[in-house]
Symmetry: D2
Subunit: 304 residues, 4 copies
């Protein structure tokens, strides 16, 4: 991996770039934002931090989209953040316009790049960007929910987080699916390992509700998602082939949509592990795909 571009240097964009670059993923990092001075001064901050970490990455901040060129990877967090009283879908229209505008600018100068979308509502934004640009695009999907699930189980059962495995996916938010047949503690299936001390419902409730609580207290989530997204970027950039719960493109009827599934993240991205999931877990994915397709089609209409 040689050149990585970050489109958007807001709270999330900054935290993602910081987390990912500390892993030593790039020879050169390009930081773009429309706000004057922000990408330049954030680049200064990054250079100071990289200097401490002894990571040799050149960093260039710019307000000119023309400077974003020949990247191997483009990470898009531009757009409006989700406000405390907003649903993920409420920002759809505004951010879709941002995606479409970027889809006109980025592909011609970054023809060989893989595109990772972080902007919310993330799965739909990835679909919009891919549809508009014609470029291979992934959504960072449910990977952060995945890690929230593991951290909560570890904490509640009093085991190291390295003892917990398992995946979440499907659709974001209230309809998120935990793929329970994949969840284990020290290799033992969840229900047996928890022995009733922790119920599935409690886990699901935490994973679905914690983002809103963090937003209410801190004004937004950043550290959890950013470290999770940094991990996706790092696994791609270094061809680590980790299985992460991202949303790679899925052909569904007449559209390409993005539904989170355990997926091998290297370069190229894939395959998904969907075929290896239990039928119960696969049903959850199918149901999510159906719902998301329907909602996506309706949202697309609002753009015209």
């Amino acid at each position: 991996m040689r050149r990585v571009a970050f489109i958007g240097a807001g709270r999330m964009g900054q935290t993602i770039a910081y987390s990912a670059l500390m892993d030593g993923i790039a020879d050169e990092a390009l930081i773009f934002d429309i706000v004057a001075n922000v990408p330049q001064r954030f680049s200064d901050e990054l250079i100071h931090a990289l200097s401490t970490a002894r990571v040799d990455t050149r960093v260039i901040g710019t307000n000119a989209i023309e400077d974003i060129k020949e990247a191997d990877l483009v990470v898009i967090s531009a757009g409006k953040p989700r406000l405390p009283d907003q649903s993920r879908t409420a920002v759809f229209a505004d951010n879709a316009k941002v995606m479409m505008a970027l889809a006109k600018e980025l592909p011609m100068r970054n023809p060989h790049a893989t595109y990772i979308v972080v902007t919310n509502p993330v799965d739909y934004m990835a679909s919009i960007f891919m549809k508009s640009s014609g470029k291979y695009t992934i959504s960072t999907g449910a990977q952060v929910e995945n890690m929230r699930m593991r951290s909560f189980i570890a904490q509640r059962l009093g085991v190291p987080v390295t003892s917990v495995n398992g995946f979440a996916g499907g659709e974001h938010g209230e309809n998120l699916s935990i793929f329970w047949d994949t969840v284990t503690v020290n290799g033992i299936p969840f229900d047996e390992a928890s022995g009733g001390a922790l119920k599935r419902d409690e886990v699901a409730s935490y994973v679905k509700g914690i983002a809103a609580q963090v937003i209410a207290a801190l004004g937004g989530t950043s550290w959890g998602p950013s470290r999770a997204i940094g991990d996706i970027i790092s696994s791609f950039a270094k061809n680590k082939n980790k299985v992460l719960s991202i949303a790679a493109p899925m052909k569904y009827k007449d559209e390409v949509i993005h539904v989170s599934r355990p997926t091998v993240v290297g370069n190229p991205i894939g395959p998904t592990l969907e075929a290896a999931l239990s039928s119960a877990d696969r049903k959850d994915i199918d149901a999510a795909a159906g719902r998301m397709y329907k909602e996506y089609k309706e949202l697309l209409k609002t753009l015209q």
Copy 2:
């Protein structure tokens, strides 16, 4: 991951333990070898090295197999090394006896452990240990060939090794399969990326032949396999879910055999990605399984 046991502190065993423990995988490491003083003094060496790396792991070296208990992971490298003029199968009988002896001692004191076999011929030794012990056992399989393939392609095409992806597997040695439909450079299929500058045969020839050349020059391979095996251990112990080309148990007719396939390495181990491979690549696995089953059955007869 709390406690990891290393059975065998010869050249390979030492290099594996050193490489894996530097990753911070264990609170406690148990080192066993039958040679007096060797595991104790090697433990001293490890403690000195861990001290430098600021890794807080207790290390205990012992000649008493009874001291190997309550481990979460047992890594077995005990046995005779492959000599320069030996085939992998030539050491079968001697090392099978070692496996069977260990299978009597280890399971009762380490009932919840996952077992990783490194002793050559590695896939057969894993099958023998699993058959004798009744415990879930993997072979480290073709993961080192996998990385040899990537390193050779990177070197010859003048790209960073992080640009190369792809898997090798099936059977060891002369019959190793490179799963060519998975091999890419910067995400581009191998043949297109190499543009004829590097032929499939050259890659296969290097991957199949380099171990013998290293053995001839250095008396044995150690650094490459050990770092690859350390990566397997680390992915298991930290639930990283990396896809690595190990040999997890495969039911085949009346036996459980070990054939290398791209496999998700977390705790628990699996699934394999076999279903996602191309039909050409899957055929190679089937053929390898057939050959290995047959040879294994014949070798088993020699034990009686």
Copy 3:
């Protein structure tokens, strides 16, 4: 290092805790802030991030200062941030009161802790906390300016940042000293290495001015200082004995003041390398100490 407490979960406190904890410095982290829900929800964010990084650290967020106990290290960032139009000294009075309040609460419950102060104006706040608490306290001092200097030289001369060495220190802000006789590029003294392509004045100007520019553009500095402070914490917690430009206590006339000097950061902290600096560089430290003592005494009067 077993237990690390972070007092203050504002922008800087959060970024420091995130950066330091990712290095695996603690078995348990305590996060305190007076704002309801903030430390608790930030702890959730940390747990999610640590889960991704496979770092096994328990994290507890609290609004009750009584919960901060038996820590080995206490990092204090509580207080008001420096606003765009403020000088570092303008916030002295308000933050001094915070230090004095904390000095009544923390030492009795954390008697064996080392205290690191980050709150601005940092050197004075460290002196105030140490004076009020009687506990050994350091200021994170000029370490971030140190790394800013190296990063700027690297960038302008087109060399990797790992090629640049050297220290800055003395007093913060306009009166900062670069210890020019320590500055090298690939081991060659700065003036010779730069060959006139980069002047001392340009370096000094960047290092002294960049924080204000970042504050103007981003509303505050965070990434650069936090990674630098995380490095200080990590070097202390793991006894790495790195030489960093922190401000350890210095007896000066009738007070203990904090003046930045290259200092060995292990546990315990020290010695400084002041005696090994050139006489020109030492004179800068003496001058800074004189100025800072005088200003500190005057500021102390304003507290009565």
Copy 4:
């Protein structure tokens, strides 16, 4: 740091190169040894291991000393290893000839390199190489004894090794000095911290005797010294400025000798912390310098 050369690919040379290169210290590594095929095949092993670790370093193995050129750092481990029944000085004559031969070949092609000598008797060999080559040369000195001391204290007192600090130095072997006034556990002076549970003599006895025991059991030391030497290389190559107990050149009467002292290891190397040690600890260094100078002068006579 761009190019690092390793002269000697024996047991120690291999372990050092492996340990150092895994830290990502070089864009290019050159491996030299006189034995046909050994550096080439060891380079293959390194490439396989680096591939697993996702470290992008080119590695070139060669039997032609002319290929070792334009290095920034040259690490010399060539020479005869210390046999079980040999004293460190017994190999002086043979290895001095190796140093003198290398001093004729390396400086002209590597004029800007820093030289690190590992070959035993290490301090004398560094002095011989520096005297013969006119190039700045350090000995890796007592850094491994330093870490052995810390690891033993940690183990015996049942504390994490990250809790222990302190330095050893002076002369190797029977006459090694532990600088007791620097030794602490959780920041508390050793005698107070150990409370009599562990005596200074026991620590000294372990540190002085363990190498011989390891050699007796394993045929040589490798893991402990190599990780310690890798840390020295890494601190130099990345300008980390860690304080390590190496032996930098010391003018003594009419010679430059190498005596281990706590020393800042960046590029350039230095200063030493000798001035900050207690007078008791400094006396040990003076005594060591006197003894070593005398022995060195006598050994030099045997070369004529």
